[in-house]
């Protein structure tokens, strides 16, 4: 006589088609509900510019924009971003023309290994828009959600100052 083994696992809902709008493009991705926005863009859309540092919301490497606000993609479920406008680092440049913040990071050598850099830049652009780049202390404080283990922090501040001063914003 065969006895059925007790069902030990509880699987979540199966993957479903999730519409996403990333960098102005609409796409539909087969995703389980537990897939983070970070893994959705990296593993399913091959947009690997958004980085996975801690996957726990502590390092900022995964910073993207959702509906114009900087958010941590590792703490955002992809399904929750459906219907919203998502921008990743790949969507920042205007074709081959780098965003002023990207150029400023180059000019001030504001990175070394480059792994935190996309998140730093996505944060830095919003920092100025938010009006939180008025002083060096403000820049340091409001950029403190983005860890740079190479510790390029003084150069990151210099890059942000440059963009702020040339755009006349930030205060």
């Amino acid at each position: 006589m065969t006895v059925a083994e007790p069902q030990l696992t509880v699987d979540g809902p199966a993957a479903a088609a999730v519409p996403l709008q990333v960098n102005g493009r609409r796409c539909v991705v087969e995703l389980e509900p537990r897939v983070s926005l970070l893994d959705a863009v990296r593993e399913h859309l091959d947009l690997t510019g958004t980085k996975k540092g801690c996957d726990q919301g502590t390092c900022g490497a995964c910073t993207v924009w959702v509906d114009g606000r900087r958010v941590l993609a590792c703490l955002t479920l992809a399904v929750a971003a459906s219907g919203r406008e998502i921008v990743t680092i790949e969507g920042l440049a205007d074709g081959d023309e780098l965003h002023p913040m990207q150029r400023a990071f180059l000019e001030h050598d504001a990175f070394q290994c480059g792994y935190c850099t996309p998140g730093q830049i996505m944060s830095a652009v919003k920092l100025i828009e938010e009006g939180n780049a008025g002083s060096d202390e403000d820049i340091a404080e409001f950029m403190s959600g983005n860890i740079c283990r190479c510790a390029a922090y003084p150069n990151i501040r210099a890059a942000i100052r440059q963009v702020r001063d040339r755009s006349g914003g930030g205060a």
Binding site: K51, Q56, L98, R149, P154
Partner: protein, 750 residues
Amino acid sequence: MTVVGTPVRRVDGPAKVSGAARYSAEITLPGTAHLAVVGATIAGGRVVAVDTAAARAAAGVVAVLTREDLPKVAAEPHLLPSLAGGPAPGQSFFPMQDDVVHHAGQPVALVVAEEHEQAQYAATLVRVSYEAVPSVTTIDQGRDRAYEAERLFGGLLPGRSERGDVEAGLARADLRVEAAYRMAANHHNPLEAPSTVAVWTDGKLTVYESTQGVRATQQTVAQLLGLPVSHVRVVTGFVGGGFGSKAMVWPDVTLTAMAARHVGRPVKLMLPRPRMFTSNGHREEQEQRITLGATRDGRLTAIRHEKLSVTSPFDDWAEPATGVSSQLYACENYLGRHRLIRGNTMTPTFTRGPGEALGVFTLETAMDELAYRLSMDPLELRLRNHTPVDPAGHPWSSDGLVECLRLGAERFGWADRPPGPRATRDGDWLIGTGLAATAYPVAFFMPPQRARARIFADGSAVVQTSTQEFGTGVLTMATQVGADALGVALAELTFQAGDSDLPNSTAAVGSAGAGMVSSAVHAAGTALREQLVALAVGDRGSPLHGAGPESVTVTDGRLTSSGRPGAVDTYRELLARNHLSDAEATGEWRPPPLDTPHGLLTFGAQFAEVAVDPEFGLVRVRRLHGAFAPGRVLNPMLARSQLMGGMLWGMSQALLEGNHMDPRYGRWAATNLAEYLVPVNADAPVVVVDLVDVRDDVVGPLGAKGVGEIGQVGAAAAIANAVFHATGRRIRTLPMAPELVMDPAGPGER
């Protein structure tokens, strides 16, 4: 025009700021499955059973592997530093070969699934039952079983360093300073977690790996799997920081290759952050003691420097802490030794500024105490004990310590400082300044380094070697060196690295990367230039025909001869006339012998200003100044950035970073970046880096010594000395947490 020595911007910068730069986990091959590693939850004992039924039944799971499913390794690993150029396992142990658990986090099962989320979830369903035995994971638990290490570093270094008669030197001293220190464990925490993608094709293995040494990884994996080295290829695009965590080859890369072979598909592992704390080594918890003897005029008569730390059950590993304290100052009597406790941890490993970062902390805070005891300016005490030769009497390959101390002092404004402690207040804050001399050994354990240079008929050129870019700027620096050596414009030359199929370059560790790569690239570029010059002077069609090869110089691809004004040939025309589509040459650099008659240290000086709130114990670093003499500076912008980063690592070591074992469970207390503190932007003060140019004809053809470690070494000491100057309190525990710094004194401190 030469480009070496100029601040060329990073050649990989555009790819990094646009998100185009690919790191190892970002290689996704068709059919890739995802790996999750299940780690032991006990610190010592054995695995009794592994119940994989629930995990196997979970959605998307391809395979669950226990030690029964895993092949035996072809050879037992033996720890050897990757700088030696051979296989370089991080520890003399490979997991999942038997049922013994040596440390918490040790891999006990592998889960492979279609998707990352499925693998992670199924890993939580693996039920492991253990038979636990009491564990030892802290110095306090194992103090009574400490022993003196005979050899360190896989046998490459002696555990003891001794000259003269320390007891006699101390007996002769007018003053003694004795101090004991406690330093918490550190974890590298590069922002990119170690990542591996392994794929098998026709019995050959390709590994995409985040590593500081593609050749070390290739050789280690080949040895463990019993494959010919030629059947293993390791590719590394970009590496998101290493700091030592990727300097050795840890079990995960080979486990991933085993899993990929088992499932017959490419397999990707990206370590979750918590697993980083138990998968790639750490800087060990340690205690150091130092005794200085000095005459009344401040001359050292004896130094005794001892370290006690916890290592794994398999290896006598200690970061060597006495390489600088044994050499930095003129002192006839010296004893340095390392004592170890075998405990339930994995083998510790290189962490930025390995050994010397803490050894110099001990030496230079003790020197500060000595200066106060002598009522002597701490700067003067260093100058007074400077030595132009190493303990064997050999002159330094290049010096610069005095220049660094003087330049740093001038730029920092050292002379304006009140001599006594607790003399300056700014509102609620006590202000203090401190300095430290610093040095870091230059090591030549590596085998010959090679690079290949190739030029094409259109004048563009490629130089290749198997190094890897993890933030040092090596791609940029090597492009500069190659362009100058070959005599082409920077824009014409592409430097390629990150592939074990390229000519040999040893792992970039211990500040040796710049020296090794620049020397090999210089040799290759020079060899190709000489080949082409010889072709030109022997070519009847060349305006330089018959000229002496030594009279020919090449700039921007144009060949001219000092003996033949006005005559110009070009690489393009030369190759076209000779019907050559390309030309190539390999260059080799052999490091100086280990017994080279030169002292080998890189020197610098560190200065710090701090503000301390004595009621809350808060320490804010207001500014850091460093002056360094790393030989020839190949790119001052990149060098400054790396030195600045190192100085901030020193700040972090002084004030933030530390992990502790929970002695009850033998597990790390902090396994994430919320609790394991690293500096954020708001912690980072203004940092000033000055470079002192010193000529060095020993360390390589370009005379470059490397800047990866020296920025960190001494920075924590300068900060601790500044905290003393601010508060009058001497903190000998790292990190200097607020409860140690605040005024209502903690017992034992001061």
